[in-house]
Subunit: 336 residues, 2 copies
């Protein structure tokens, strides 16, 4: 009897501590290992009052690329799908588009031909679909599209295709006093429409590629801002640290990316004093998401290229490479 009582007591204690450990794990969708540990160690070191690596709360800035880092970017960026989806709607208002390339190809619905559009052709589509309207109208259009459009593979809204492990990192950083910023090559106005709802990141903490706007008055004399076909900020490569300086004015303590477009942001972050955390997501999980590099012998891609030199720089400079396959217990929140 006494033995059983002791046994049950120990069992209850063991179960309770297990439950507690699970409840306290801020990163439950990450497998245990050096990558997860690096995140935990960094946050712990930079928030420990009196510690050698303590960072004052006002300086706690963490920046996150979006496409391929926070959500799915393959086979093509969601914003490009938005632009293509807008073409038939605009062709109703402007029937002349039906006879002009590249819009004719987009309207043909020939996916093979569409996927072969050149960069200048895609730029023409971007100018047509992303500029020329008041900022308010653009926001309303994006919102409407997001509510109905679905990714063909998962048959879910694009906004559900965010990586659960990264959502946990965002929350964990914020719970520890970090301001989380998106620093994306994608359109700033586009991402701002959903960033607050999807990532808990307010518009003023979204830095992205941005066109100029023009202030004027409508026929009733009411001020409007119109999106102009003039690129102001190209938030890729060197543009990332340059725009971090412009928009935030502080060097981040942590930066997350997944492609060569994020290299300079991570270099700039790492070059600061004290503890700095730099991480790159490697898409090496064809079954659960996608596999592309060409680093580590993965298939080449034009969308979110992760080259071997980038991989080597990461290893040399002490950045962590997150293996989706190895480090992430689950990818999406809707998985069991």
């Amino acid at each position: 009897m006494k033995f059983f009582r002791l046994y049950f007591t120990l069992l209850i204690v063991a179960l309770a501590s297990q439950t507690r450990a699970r409840a306290q794990d801020p990163l439950p969708s990450w497998n245990d290992g050096p990558t997860k540990q690096a995140i935990l160690d960094f946050v712990s070191a930079t928030t420990e009052t009196g510690g050698a690596k303590f960072v004052p709360p006002e300086e706690r800035i963490a920046t996150f690329d979006q496409d391929g880092t926070l959500w799915v970017e393959h086979p093509i960026y969601s914003q490009v799908i938005y632009c293509l989806a807008r073409v038939p709607l605009l062709a109703k208002e402007k029937p002349e588009l039906k006879n002009v390339e590249p819009f004719k190809t987009v309207l043909s619905g020939d996916f093979e031909a569409i996927s072969k559009l050149s960069l200048p052709e895609l730029e023409k589509i971007a100018v047509l679909t992303l500029t020329g309207m008041p900022t308010d109208e653009f926001q309303a259009e994006v919102k409407k599209w997001l509510a109905t459009a679905k990714d063909p593979r998962w048959k879910r809204p694009y906004t559900e295709l965010t990586y659960q492990p990264m959502q946990e990192v965002l929350k964990y950083f914020r719970a520890n006093g970090y301001k989380t910023y998106i620093v994306t090559g994608g359109g700033q106005d586009f991402v701002r429409v959903y960033a607050e709802e999807v990532y808990g990141i307010p518009p003023e903490q979204v830095v992205g590629s941005a066109g100029a706007t023009k202030y004027s008055y409508d026929k009733d004399g009411k001020p409007i801002l119109t999106k102009e076909p003039k690129l102001l900020l190209n938030d890729n490569n060197a543009g990332k640290p340059e725009n971090i300086h412009l928009m935030i004015g502080r060097r981040p303590y942590a930066a997350f990316g997944n492609s060569t477009g994020d290299r300079q942001m991570l270099e700039y972050t790492k070059a600061g004093d004290g503890a700095r955390l730099c991480m790159l997501v490697l898409h090496d999980d064809k079954e659960r998401e996608y596999a592309y590099g060409p680093a580590q012998g993965l298939p080449s891609t034009k969308v979110g290229t992760f080259t071997q030199p980038l991989y080597d720089e990461a290893k040399k400079d002490g950045w962590s490479v997150i293996s989706m396959k190895r480090d992430w217990k689950r990818i999406f929140s809707f998985e069991n």
Copy 2:
């Protein structure tokens, strides 16, 4: 005896409630009147849960021009004084400047001649003194200058020449969940050096005129950002709402300015739905600060021009004009 007890009790109650009223006044440096009341009413209306004009905390954005709105801008902007002060120091490194205009004039120390420099000449001085160096080095130089430079009239550091009534407005707004932003025609990098210490406004909440930066590597391979002689954002006039959209991505609920350069920011703010507060500081107090317009018959000026049409637009659109003379009990914190 009983009478005295009652008398003292009443006196104590009266004194206590007076003290309480004073302690509770968030704007003690403002004289009572419609201007102060407009601020109190706006904050009260937009923060009253369930009220018709309630604004959710995440949307509470208030923008403030700096020169002439938060601190003294006469006889000339502090940043221009910084630029002029840098010329002799740079001439030590580059003696050839001594024979080249407009630097020769600046080095002559002839205030009369310096005050007559043209805009293109001042631009040459700005390019020399504000660009070409790493961002870190620029910040260090500005910090050093601010620590020693003094305004000739008050014989105090420029950072002490902030308006106490406006400091109270900043604090009052923040205490009510508003994010306070500086939106200045001055240099973003310049203002960011002291905005946190002087106004409690962090670098990421300073929007200003900004030059491009260029990402590169120093001789040791360390990343650096260099300030380029290329204007990226001109944060005056229509540039103010355009850059508010770029940098913040939300329309402000309150905006404060003092010159024609703030007109579009106030129009844009006022054009939003619900309660909006727009205010302009009118410098009509020659004794305690300066007097300039030319609105309301005040002397004309090139620095912080407040025209009569701006005054008329304010009256027509329901913006408040703050009279320094009438509305401000004291101007600076160092006054008795």
